[in-house]
Structure formats: C-alpha cells, structure tokens
Symmetry: C2
Subunit: 269 residues, 2 copies
C-alpha cells in the first residue's frame, strides 16, 4: 500500500456521519480524485450528533476545506449550516452535499434522489410513467420520491411505520405534483417497489414490504447497500422479479459529487 499522496497544498473534503465507519464515499470519491488527477482528499469525520454543529462550523472555518458530504443522521441538521439551498434540497428539506462557493458562501444540494433515478437509468430502467410503491418516508424516501416524480413517475404510494411521516411526505410533494402522491395503504398494482427504510441492514429485520403481494415483473429496488444482497432483494429474485441493488445509487452519486465539487486535474505530474 503506497503512501497517501497528500501534501500541504491538497484540498480537503469530508464526509460527516454518526457513525461514519460504514461510509463508502471516501474510497469511491478518492478513486475519482485519483482518476482525474485532482490534488484532493476526502476524509471521514465522525460527527457525534450532540456536537454536530461544532464539527461543521469548524470545518467550514478552515480555508482549505472545499466541500462536505453528509450522511445519516445529519442530512436535515446540515441545512442550517448552508447559506443557500438548491431547489431540491429546499423541497426535500435535507442535503447531503455542501460546497464553498467562490464568494465564500456555502451551497447545499441533495443527490440522493437523482442518484437513485440515475442509477436506475444506468441499468436500463426509465421511471417515466411508472407506478411506484415506496416504503419509507424519511429523508431518503422523500428525496427519492421527489426525484421519481420530477423524472416523470406517474404515481407514488408511500408507506411508513410512522403514518404522520408518510402523510407529511404526500402533502409536501402533492403540493408540487398534485394527484400523483398518496399515503393510502390500498393502492393498485405497481411497476416499481422501492425500499427507502433502513430495514435490511440487519439480518433480523422484517421485510419492508411483502414481496408475495407484488405483480410479476415488478422491479424491486433497495436503497440499503450493506449487505449487497438484502433479504428483500433475495426474496424478490427468488420470486423471479427483476431487482436493483443499493450500490447503483451511490455509484451515480459519486459522479454527481465530482461535478458538484468541480473536481479537475490540479495535481502536478
């Protein structure tokens, strides 16, 4: 293993989470930095929830920290540390990427939804006209639902163990895409079923929805990426349904992050 090619001139990026050990962004984005020859490094920063504000403020105060990625559970809280939110981040109320603008202001965006939709497209799945069942109305579910609707999904039915949360999602996105979002539990057949809950991270988790109830041909997608083959995806594959792994979303996000951060060759050869 060679030495980390970091010098005093290297620009610094950080991914903030609690925990952060599971984060895949450092390995993937550092590979992208190396690929294009950017003199930059992304480091994991474990920001305990109770001290999140101090950690973000400190990083933003550093002159050579050019961008932040944000993972669970900080995607909502980080919005308070942005000077400006993208339309997407404002709509879904959370952000997972911040960059320092040339004037010093911090701009926040959210690539969870578009990363998911781009990941589907990269595997040949267009979402235009699709009827979607979405499990999970947290930050990830909200971001994915917004991106699906923006990209032309016909209708989304959302379910969450917390009924108030799914009602809020339906209300919030229904105001932008009227008549295309529902939190009613009874809905017709779907073309795409998405798990945006954390269920599946642990082997003992119950399934986020019943695979047996899905019509033949329904595409089953999981946002959980660890394990790669979640119990949900295994059950869907066993039923002969097409499946879509969680990693595709992150892979597409890496390219989006690289553009967001204007990654380009800066390393002297």
């Amino acid at each position: 293993m060679g030495a980390v090619p970091v010098t005093g001139r290297t620009r610094v990026f950080a991914v903030l989470g609690d925990p952060v050990a599971q984060a895949k962004a450092p390995a993937l984005l550092n590979a992208e930095f190396a690929r294009v020859g950017a003199d930059a490094v992304l480091v994991p920063v474990h920001a305990p929830t109770a001290r999140f504000a101090e950690v973000v403020t400190g990083l933003q105060a550093a002159g050579n920290v050019d961008g932040l990625l944000v993972t669970v559970p900080h995607k909502l809280a980080v919005c308070a540390h942005a000077d400006e939110l993208s339309a997407t981040a404002a709509l879904v109320g959370s952000a997972n990427a911040l960059r320092r603008e040339p004037d010093g202001r911090w701009f926040a965006d959210n690539f969870d939804g578009i990363g998911f939709v781009r990941g589907l497209a990269a595997r040949g799945h267009s979402v235009r006209g699709l009827r979607v069942a979405l499990a999970g109305a947290g930050g990830a579910g909200l971001a994915v639902a917004a991106a699906l609707l923006a990209d032309g999904a016909e209708r989304i039915a959302v379910r969450d163990p917390d009924g108030a949360r799914s009602a809020a999602l339906a209300r919030r996105l229904g105001a932008v895409w009227p008549g295309r979002v529902t939190d009613e539990t009874a809905f017709g057949p779907v073309d795409l079923a998405v798990n945006a809950t954390p269920l599946g991270l642990r082997a003992s988790d119950p399934p986020p929805f019943a695979v047996a109830d899905l019509a033949p041909g329904t595409l089953v997608a999981d946002l959980v990426m660890e394990p790669h083959e979640t119990p949900l995806l295994r059950a869907a594959a066993a039923r002969g349904l097409p499946i879509h792994h969680g990693i595709h979303m992150l892979r597409c996000q890496i390219g989006l992050y690289a553009r967001f951060f204007s990654v380009r060759r800066t390393r002297k050869i």
Copy 2:
C-alpha cells in the same frame, strides 16, 4: 498516482497552520503511516487565525480525529485547547502536537526543541558542553534553547530584534538553568550558531547574524527549511564553516510524532 487509501474507518490527523500549504508534515507522516501499515491519514487544515478556536474545537469534537499537529502561528494559542501540557510544552508555553488520550482528554507536547537536538545528533553533533548563539526568541527559539540546555549545552546567548522577547526568554529559562542563558549582546566565541528567526524564507531577507564574526569551526544551523540552502547556510559554507540544514529537525520530529500518536499497523492486508 494511485487513489488515496482512505475509507470510512481510517483514523484522521490534521496539521493546522495559517498558511498551511508549505507544511511538509502531510507528505512525511503519511509516508510513515504507509510504512508501518497504519490506517490513518494526516490532512492539512488551513486555520485562519481569527477562526482558529472554531477549527480546533470542531476537530476535537470529531470522534475519529485522534491527533493534531500545529504550526505557525498557532503553537501558543493551541495550548488553551489542551487538557494537559507536557513539562516541555508548559516550560516553553507552546505546543506543536496534541493527541486524544484514551479517556478523551487532549494532551499537548512540543517536539520542536527535541527535534532540533535529535537532528543535530543524527548528523553527529552532540550539544553537550557547547556554547551557543541563538538568533530568535520566538516560540521556536524558546523551544530550541530549552532543549539545548536540557541536553547539556553549556551556555546560550540569545538575540532578537525584539529585546523584550530575548529578555523574557533568558529570564524564563534562566529560572530553570541558572547562569546558562543570557540576552547580552556581547558574548565570547561560540561552537554553534542557530537561526530560529524566519529570516531566510525570502531571498531578500537580511542575514539573522553576521557569519563573518563567527570563529573558524563554528557549526551554523538554520531552522528555516524552505529554501533548503538558505542565504545563511550558503554564506557559512562559503566561509568553510560546517552547516546543518533545517530539514533534519523535521525528519526527527516525524519519528517523534509517530511515537506520540502510537502509530501502528491497523490496515488490513
């Protein structure tokens, strides 16, 4: 250039300075991490003086930041962010390395002086019994003077453009090593002349002391390490005096930092 081998589990260290682009610690300490197989990375963090407290507090709040190195102009200010100072750091009133102890407290030490003395030893120069002329009574000069005295230098005469500062150094160290430190400008021949001022960083700087006044055989040492061959060292070499480059101090410090941070194999093969 390969990708930076950083994952979510990598432990993070930072070197703080204003500016920080000139810092050599990232390249040297990351090479040491790679050599021993430590899953750790040292990143440069540009901490503007006006926001230094925020930057340090934020880094200390992060659960996976295990240590900090500190360079100009923060070595004094960082002491306020340590829960405990080593005897050396307390004596010289500044620190250049902090680590998180197992109980979460931050312990600060200063390796400038010992790094300089070890660097001399590595080149075959013992300081025991030496008479020393020291230019510069700032943080680096104070640290170097203390280490020289602790290692047996017979007598140190310090000079600084700020007379109050050299008087303070003489008083402070004279209290520990009575009769061995003076700030009088007239002093006899010396065996070692040390530049601990920043003079020499720029080609237009005046020399920190007159090489022509030194006795034959006087060892001339410079703490300035950029450029490698400072005007002072070039003038000394031209006179046939033995010289000692600034880089030796840093090379020895890297080994001291590695021990201070308990660097050891943690990377999975």
